[in-house]
Amino acid sequence: MTSPLPFFLGLDIDGAGSHPGAAAVTGLAGADLVAGARLARSVRQAENAGFTFATFADALLPTAPGAPSSARLESVTRAAFVSRTTTAIGLVPQVPTTYPEPFHVAAQLASLDIATTGRGGWLAAVTRTPETAHAYGRAAVDDLGREARDVVQVVRELWDSWEDDAVIRDVATGRYIDRDRVHHVDFEGESFSVKGPLITPRPTQGQLVVFAADGDVAPSAHDERLVDVAIVGGPDVASARGAARDAHERSPRAAVELEVVLDAGGRTGAERLAELAAATPADVRSPWGTGALRYVGDAAGLVGLLAELAAPGPDGTRDVDGVRVLPAVLDVDLPVLQRDVLPALRAARVTAAPRPDATLREALGLPRPANRYDARLSA
């Protein structure tokens, strides 16, 4: 029997932290909050801690309208910036499916995957705020799941629009590419169409790893698995495990989203959480507290919770393959995770740090997909 895959651990890296009051309690705002040096330091710390991947939460609209503490840079640009300052950690920007141009999204993410030599992922997110439609000067999308389905579908087709060996450099005939291995995708969605091919060759992993909240992306019309890693939440461990078990019907991997507020600096997690809540501006737009599992307490308790999530069910298979940790305050919670949580999980052989130069697919035990347009496969 082969040993189970390491339980994977993702960490969200977003400004001062995932709690909407994080910027206020740390006093960070504007350019200081989003500086490149700070971003690179945080991601390097997550890599040194042994996290499997970093996610980069994002939204076009500010968390607190009008407030300089809501400064945030675009997620693919952030992920790309750390692509060459890291060697092992997966980089997974959150990019919406609802309003952006899918052709641009496909090229941006393919470029991220090539720059990281195969450590790229995509947290595909639906946008529920109608004000975002105003920023594009368009009507609000009403069927978010259908739009997400079409966008993920066409992005995956565009990633395949160049076969791996399309560049042939055939001096005898003067041909740089074999045009029979570069394809129009001719995608017809409900609200848009895309001709293709992509301007960027096939990503290093063939397809980036696609993450999405379970249920956000409507099922494919062609019976294709659109989401590789489904993200679930729940008020307690039992319900999160149940949601993950259910998500495995649709996706090969399931992760639990976990909000974390740890005891640190002589203060309990509960005290810190109360302070964060008090510092949070009114009317914020934030996913914090909207359905993720939450842990508030000391490091040992978190180690126990993660080991419990990683434990196999009665049939010997795991319900939960990993977690995406949302640290309340990055500079406070990440050092505790690095010092007291991840080493204990590695010692217990629950998890393992990703190997340098491994792809994100390899770290998650996902195979490199064949190309849907490769005629040799169907011949």
Binding site: L61, R72, S111, I114, G137, R138, K195
Partner: protein, 471 residues
């Protein structure tokens, strides 16, 4: 091609005796001028190729590293064009990765105003600008055709006449987004509202920016259109014009006169717009070595198949059965206006007129198809010894024809090595090239004034304040 070492040009007056030569590098990614068939031709896709080029450029104190963009792969008569290097990264994503491994060089992303939304595009550009510490630039390009629009949600929604109006509206919206943040931690972030009629969007646009300002205020604006309306756009809005006038000094001086008068007409100081033609540089230890290398480069750029393809695009038919070492087709092009070559700058050209000119040149000089294409379609640029090329570059800058050169390496990733190792020292000996970067931002490298913004004069300098300083 011109041998600048042997053929002295007319004596144009030196109007700027202390002017310095500036360099940018254009990593083309799509074009027949990048040689892919030589043993030293590297990958066009691997990050390592981009890293090698930008590191050499930064060692050579270049102002900027420049990436192009085309939003649909080129096609000829319905089939993908397969003879040239093709397949390139998204520019802003790639430049963000390069930003972390460089410290001074500017990062120029070509981005289209027709098929981007300002809320998204301005945010991505400012993200690059903040992360790079104020080294980002945007080369503003437009598209109008439905053929490119087939890759996008809105399709071909824009008339030809509206493409620059949309571009101006996208740029002015971007500048308002870039200005939205207060300088300190106090104060409100401004909201940006633009009528849909200005941006050609179905509804009005309302943006709540999240991106604070970078050390250079706004990303630097490049513009490359050469039509009268394109030149006026640059004269009104751009910091740098990326021109096509980089091979003939008389032509470059005419171009400089024209754009500087347009800059003045737009109410700006004439030196507000920097002129950077695209060009190529080929050096050899002796004049003969340089000529020999140039000949090798031209024959590798214009392969037999490429020669037949370029002539075939003017004739509007497949000429791949012709002998590339034989004469041009005896018949005239069947189609009067070029349309079959999609995604190429020559679309819309008058085919019979071009064919008549080509036939005249071929007959006069006794040229085959391939020789003719090398003669007419090659980027000529600068060929000579490091010293003679340096002399010529200095002359271009000090006669006021240009402010710098955007160099396209003819091979990747080693194509800048000779320029940095041999030409730059010659320029430095002549006191015409810096010995170190003096500033931190791209705006510093280019000697640009603070951006024109709607912010208070005491904070950043209004257009009027800049004019006063310039006088």
């Amino acid at each position: 091609m011109t041998d600048h070492a042997r053929v002295p040009g007319p004596a144009y007056p030196i109007t700027r005796p202390a002017a310095q030569v500036h360099f940018g590098v254009f990593f083309q990614g799509v074009n027949h001028t990048t040689i892919w068939s030589a043993p030293e031709s590297g990958s066009q896709t691997d990050f390592a190729s981009f890293e090698r080029v930008i590191r050499v450029a930064e060692r050579g104190l270049f102002d900027a590293f420049f990436l192009g963009e085309g939003l649909r792969l080129r096609e000829s008569r319905g089939r993908l064009h397969d003879l040239d290097v093709v397949g390139r990264p998204d520019a802003i994503t790639q430049l963000a990765a390069l930003a972390a491994i460089t410290t001074r060089i500017g990062l120029v992303a070509t981005q289209n105003t027709t098929y981007n939304d300002p809320a998204d595009l301005a945010r991505r550009l400012q993200s690059l600008d903040v992360l790079s510490g104020g080294r980002a630039a945007w080369n503003v390009v437009t598209t109008d055709n439905a053929w490119t629009g087939a890759n996008f949600r809105r399709g071909g929604y824009l008339d030809h006449a509206d493409r620059y109006a949309r571009a101006a509206a996208v740029l002015s919206t971007a500048r308002r987004i870039w200005d939205a943040y207060p300088d300190g931690e106090d104060g409100e972030v401004a909201r940006v509202r633009v009528p849909g009629a200005e941006l050609r969007t179905p509804a009005d646009v309302a943006i709540e920016p999240t991106t604070p300002r970078s050390p250079q205020g706004h990303p630097v604006i490049f513009q490359a259109g050469d039509s009268p309306v394109g030149r006026d756009f640059a004269a009104t809005h751009a910091d740098v014009i990326f021109s096509a006038h980089g091979s003939d000094l008389a032509d470059a001086l005419r171009f400089a006169d024209d754009v500087r008068s347009r800059v003045a007409a737009a109410g700006r100081p004439q030196d507000d717009l920097k002129i950077f033609p695209g060009t190529s540089i080929i050096v050899g230890d002796t004049p003969d070595d340089a000529q020999e290398k140039a000949r090798w480069v031209r024959y590798h750029q214009v392969t037999p198949a490429t020669a037949l393809s370029i002539v075939g695009n003017i004739w509007g038919e497949d000429l791949s059965g012709y002998d590339p070492d034989g004469p041009l087709p005896a018949h005239d092009p069947a189609v009067e206006e070029l349309g079959g070559e999609r995604g190429s700058a020559t679309t819309g050209a008058r085919t019979r007129e071009i064919a008549r000119q080509w036939r005249a040149i071929a007959e006069e000089k006794q040229l085959s198809i391939r020789e003719l294409v090398i003669h007419t379609a090659s980027e000529r640029g600068f060929v000579g010894t490091p010293a003679s090329v340096a002399e010529e570059l200095v002359r271009w800058v000090r006669t006021g024809a240009v402010d710098g050169f955007n160099i396209s390496p003819w091979i990747v990733p080693s194509g800048l090595d000779d320029i940095v190792d041999k030409v730059v020292p010659e320029l430095q000996e002549r006191g015409a090239y810096p010995a170190a970067y003096v500033g931190d931002t791209l705006r510093d490298h280019l000697g640009l004034r603070a951006p024109s913004t709607g912010r208070p004069a005491e904070a950043r300098g209004t257009h009027a304040a800049r004019l006063v300083r310039a006088l």
